[in-house]
């Protein structure tokens, strides 16, 4: 198992390089932009996959956590704190060196939080909200859990849409790039932003984050805690009788998946240079659930491959005006015909029958 996991991860690394080479060969470097975005969405999907597939808890509110990550980071890095310069929280941040002075187009003094600190705040906020929401929500089961998480997601959406601080229907734009590493010698700085000059670096960064994220989750699934999660999915009663604190593990994995969503939201927002309320909509949450379902609930690799693949196609606009409808259809058909995921369909015997005839 251990070696198989490592081979698969190495394969994913090779696939990343391969994708890059493909775009070079096809002379279509602009594909890298969507591939980068798809990788970040993939991070949300594998996080949700562990929650749904392994711990067995559905969440139709994960776009909410994605949006919390994105919006908090965007707001802190763009909203001017200069008017509040005298207040103690701002002075504290300044004292810690977490504020960035700047100037707007008219030359006025601007004071914003540095992206590092903003991302930290964003992810922490998502984790704390997941903790607060998770304690009561995860006591629920089935329809109730689904409806409660759907309700949570809708509340976040409504709040973002109604708050001037979060830009109401326009969202937040002009989010600055996120300088991860300063320039070192001949290497340029590593900046998360949508600028063409950073395109290749951002592609590798996003896929690197995805690979590390997948590695961590695969480790988790194979560990003692992972076994406990899988056991509580199947029979909470028997897991409890074996000494597994089911409430606690459910909460931990809920928070973990919220953190994955928030990290993806924050990084993608800096990459895109902004975020809008549609990222928090119910449709987005449903889409994440659909992608996990397509890949196969208990199949992290399936969720990753289908998640990134379909998201890429969607971002390329392949589905046109039917984008949401396509995901609705996918959801229904996967649940009707392949509840264990598309990849669980036994394609090999099927293909053999089709091409060679006779029974497999």
């Amino acid at each position: 198992m251990l070696t198989r996991k490592n081979y698969s991860l190495a394969g994913l690394c090779l696939a990343t390089v391969g994708l890059h080479l493909l775009t070079v060969l096809a002379d279509a470097p602009f594909y890298l932009t969507q591939l980068t975005m798809a990788a970040y969405y993939g991070l949300v999907i594998i996080g949700l996959g562990v929650l749904m597939g392994y711990a067995g808890q559905i969440s139709i509110g994960h776009a909410g956590f994605f949006a919390i990550g994105g919006y908090v980071s965007a707001a802190l890095t763009t909203r001017n704190l200069a008017p509040f310069e005298a207040s103690w929280p701002v002075r504290l941040l300044d004292g810690l060196g977490l504020l960035v002075p700047g100037q707007d187009v008219y030359g006025a003094h601007l004071l914003t939080v540095s992206p590092w600190a903003a991302c930290g705040c964003a992810v922490t906020a998502a984790a704390v909200i997941a903790l607060i929401i998770g304690v009561p929500v995860l006591k629920l089961k089935g329809h109730y859990l689904a409806m409660a998480t759907l309700g949570f997601g809708t509340i976040i959406y409504r709040i973002l849409l109604a708050s001037p601080y979060f830009g109401e229907a326009d969202g937040i734009s002009e989010t600055p790039g996120f300088t991860l590493l300063p320039a070192l010698g001949s290497w340029g700085p590593l900046v998360i932003s949508g600028d063409v000059e950073h395109r290749v670096a951002n592609f590798y960064l996003a896929w690197g984050v995805l690979i590390v994220g997948a590695w961590l989750l695969l480790n988790l699934i194979g560990s003692r805690v992972g076994r406990a999660l899988r056991s509580l999915h199947s029979s909470e009663e028997a897991a409890e009788a074996s000494g597994v604190d089911t409430a606690r593990f459910k909460l931990q994995v809920f928070i973990l998946s919220a953190v994955y969503a928030a990290v993806a939201g924050a990084l993608l927002t800096h990459f895109n240079g902004g975020i809008g309320p549609s990222e928090a909509s119910v449709m987005k949450s449903v889409r994440y659930v659909a992608l996990v379902a397509v890949g196969g609930m208990t199949n992290l690799w399936g969720a990753l491959i289908m998640g990134v693949g379909l998201t890429f196609l969607s971002l390329r606009g392949v589905f046109g005006a039917f984008d949401d409808a396509v995901f609705g259809l996918i959801l229904i058909f996967v649940m009707l015909f392949a509840p264990d995921g598309i990849l669980s369909l036994r394609l090999k015997p099927l293909l053999r029958r089709m091409f060679l005839g006779g029974p497999s």
Binding site: N219, S223, A228, A238, A239, A241, G243
Partner: protein, 263 residues
């Protein structure tokens, strides 16, 4: 731990335990003790409240009144996993194995209380977890060997034959190294040879120093292996005695065995 323990302290002591479901009085003022190192059986007609009693002891259901003392500690009101951590393990009447997990993995879950690697250690695959994981695996295999199903370790547990599933469940319960083992109808659905094998196994478990409390319908099994028997009828305790005396008890014969014959 158990060596220090006073032999006079019972492993488990129920005192005036009640359970009501709305208007139904499922368990009515039941008191009894289970001596350390013994095998005790709870018998009674269907609907007598045996499984409810088990669920109360294991913490699956809250008691309506009364106390349950396990190794000198009150456990009513504790959650199931807390009770499990104190050294109580159980099997289920309708077997509850984990879907999508091999027999070995199911037993490894049973080692949960005997291991500690946490969330982050697991995520980062820290070297400290490796040794523990090896130990979990080794002990779980040992238990499967004890159950004589070590060759099925890699098979998905829920696809095993009925008797083998029972054995996996028993191994899972033993994996937590319990002081007290609750067996809910361990011989249900087994043929006469398998039942004899279960009887031998339960005695072996007792000889390992594990106290056993079981609910069972198979009278021959109960009479053969139990040190003491509690008879429940309609939620109340009817009698508590040695198997030999229970067999002679006129009221037990009338209400329990008589009803059994009639049915």
């Amino acid at each position: 731990m158990s060596g220090v323990q006073d032999l006079n302290t019972p492993m488990l002591a129920l005192q005036g335990v009640h359970k009501r479901f709305g208007g139904l009085h499922a368990v009515n003022d039941v008191s009894f003790q289970v001596a350390a190192g013994s095998i005790k059986a709870v018998i009674g007609p269907n609907g007598a409240g045996k499984t409810t009693l088990f669920n109360l002891i294991a913490g699956n259901l809250p008691v309506s009144a009364g106390t349950i003392v396990f190794q000198g500690q009150e456990i009513q009101g504790k959650k199931t996993h807390q009770v499990a951590r104190l050294g109580m393990a159980r099997t289920f009447q309708n077997i509850k194995l984990f879907h999508g997990m091999t027999a070995l993995e199911c037993v490894m879950v049973g080692r949960h209380v005997q291991s500690r690697s946490g969330f982050f250690a697991g995520m980062f695959n820290l070297p400290s977890t490796w040794k523990e994981e090896r130990a979990i695996r080794a002990r779980s295999l040992e238990l499967l060997e004890l159950m004589q199903i070590a060759d099925l370790a890699g098979v998905e547990a829920t696809s095993l034959a009925f008797g083998q599933q029972r054995a996996v469940e028993m191994a899972r319960a033993l994996a937590s190294e319990p002081k007290l083992l609750l067996l809910d109808e361990p011989a249900a659905g087994l043929n006469i040879y398998e039942t004899a094998e279960v009887a031998r196994l339960i005695c072996a478990i007792r000889d390992m120093g594990v106290t056993v409390l079981l609910v069972e319908h198979d009278m021959s099994l109960v009479m053969d292996i139990s040190d003491e028997i509690v008879v429940l009828s309609f939620g109340s305790k009817l009698a508590e005695d040695t198997p030999a005396n229970i067999q002679k008890d006129a009221e037990v014969i009338k209400i329990y065995l008589g009803e059994d014959d009639a049915g």
